[in-house]
């Protein structure tokens, strides 16, 4: 029995990523509006970050002065807005986890490891984070480019061409920051949920 059990334990593989991915997609779809609210938090934070970054890139391209004090104040605002959106994501992930205690308990009864529970929630957060920060980055950047185009008219073209590389890297930066923040924010709720003994998770009412 003992040896059979050992080989059985080794044979037990974790849920493959493709399956975990499918399950996470499904729970996002089922709770679409909840996910949208989480996404909106990240979207707004990243869009704001992107407007600031775009403005400073274009102004520099045009050669207009951009005093240090204003720069400092703007980075302060960006940090604050990212913090607020992170808190928002933590909050909605906590809610989403609490709502699913029973589901988590059931999965653990069926043999899911703690790691798997964390994995499912992190995939969910990562997907939400990526979609929201791509959208936020694009909207923030394109919106701001439009504003500057209207403002500077013919001077905008060369400045835009000059700063194209920087704008590109800003886009990547925005997407990375949004996705990482979403994953970090989901980590604590997911970890907490995975550590619950199944009996306690199953008892919970909502």
């Amino acid at each position: 029995m003992q040896s059979q059990q050992d080989s059985g334990i080794k044979r037990q593989i974790e849920l493959p990523w493709s399956e975990a991915f499918k399950m996470s997609m499904k729970s996002i779809r089922i709770r679409f509006w909840r996910s949208m609210i989480t996404a909106a938090g990240i979207f707004l934070g990243i869009a704001f970050l992107q407007t600031v970054l775009t403005t400073s890139a274009i102004l520099e391209g045009i050669g207009e002065g951009y005093d240090e004090m204003l720069k400092l104040r703007q980075s302060w605002l960006v940090v604050m807005s990212l913090l607020v959106s992170t808190v928002g994501v933590v909050n909605s992930m906590l809610m989403s986890v609490t709502e699913r205690y029973r589901e988590i308990g059931t999965m653990k009864c069926l043999g899911a490891l703690d790691k798997l529970v964390v994995k499912l929630f992190l995939i969910e957060a990562a997907l939400t984070g990526i979609v929201a920060s791509v959208a936020g980055s694009l909207v923030g950047m394109l919106g701001m480019l439009l504003v500057h185009w209207i403002r500077f008219g013919s001077r905008f073209g060369p400045a835009f061409a000059d700063q194209l590389g920087r704008l590109g890297s800003n886009l990547v930066l925005g997407i990375a920051v949004g996705s990482v923040l979403a994953i970090l924010a989901a980590f604590y709720p997911a970890w907490r949920a995975s550590k619950m003994p199944p009996a306690a998770a199953l008892r919970s009412e909502f």
Binding site: Q12, M23, R102, L110, G111, L113, A199
Partner: protein, 247 residues
């Protein structure tokens, strides 16, 4: 199995204490119970008698304050997280009063989930899942979500799911608690049939007297202690009168 032990589950001096508002509550107070392989056993008792707590201990869903649970002579407290997950996945099938199906998944996906956890290839899992759902009489509804099924049907899915990895033990916590009389009887008969066909040990915590009829033994729990253990032969007569009273 060459080294099959006679007793599949043994508990020794099981104690579980909960602390609530500074007061210590003893939900289980020294329960020692031996359950034979292939037995259909009912744990009976009023609400709050500790039968669900016992269920959680035996199923490895909660840790006892003191005492030991042996599954196939293996002390559960000695298992690490990985082994415990393996045990829950392969050795034990759970059935709950509230069904506890995953709401976002279809009946078939719910049944195949434990097999996917166990590393069964998807095609095999689907094939077996369909077979299991046919066994419980839901062959036509494999792609329905839990919300599109009646309570009895959901419990059938849960039963199919509990059998997914051919467990040695089925643990059922009030499996008929949320069902009407007729559906409850059907579920009990289904469990009994699967117990006879596959030789799986069924341990059911319940206060449903209909269960007595199919049980090999009945364990009566009161105030966290075993009040008495009766074999079915000894209580058949009483059940007869009870059925008479119900009609």
């Amino acid at each position: 199995m060459a080294t099959a032990y006679e007793y599949i589950v043994r508990t020794k001096d099981l104690v579980k204490e909960y602390t609530m508002g500074g007061q210590t509550l003893r939900a289980l107070n020294g329960v020692s119970l031996d359950i034979k392989r292939g037995e259909y056993i009912s744990i009976m008792g009023p609400s709050g008698s500790g039968k669900s707590t016992l269920f959680n201990m035996v199923g490895g869903l909660d840790k006892p304050s003191s005492g030991t649970v042996f599954i196939d002579e293996v002390d559960m407290a000695q298992l690490d997280a990985f082994e415990l997950a393996w045990l829950r996945c392969r050795k034990i099938g759970y059935i709950f009063q509230t069904f506890n199906l995953i709401p976002v998944m279809t009946a078939l996906e719910n049944v195949t989930l434990p097999m996917i956890f166990a590393g069964t290839p998807t095609d095999d899992a689907i094939e077996k899942g369909i077979k299991l759902l046919q066994t419980v009489g839901l062959g036509e509804r494999i792609h329905h979500k839990p919300t599109e099924l009646s309570g009895g049907q959901q419990q059938r899915v849960a039963i199919a799911r509990s059998f997914a990895n051919d467990p040695a033990i089925i643990l059922a916590d009030e499996p008929t608690g949320n069902l009407d009389l007729r559906t409850g009887t059907e579920i009990i008969e289904l469990l009994r049939r699967m117990n006879k066909d596959s030789g799986v040990t069924v341990i059911s915590a319940t206060h449903d007297l209909k269960m007595i009829d199919v049980s090999d033994r009945v364990v009566w729990i009161r105030d966290g202690q075993i009040a008495k253990i009766e074999a079915r032969a000894d209580i058949e007569l009483k059940v007869g009168t009870m059925d008479g009273e119900q009609h």
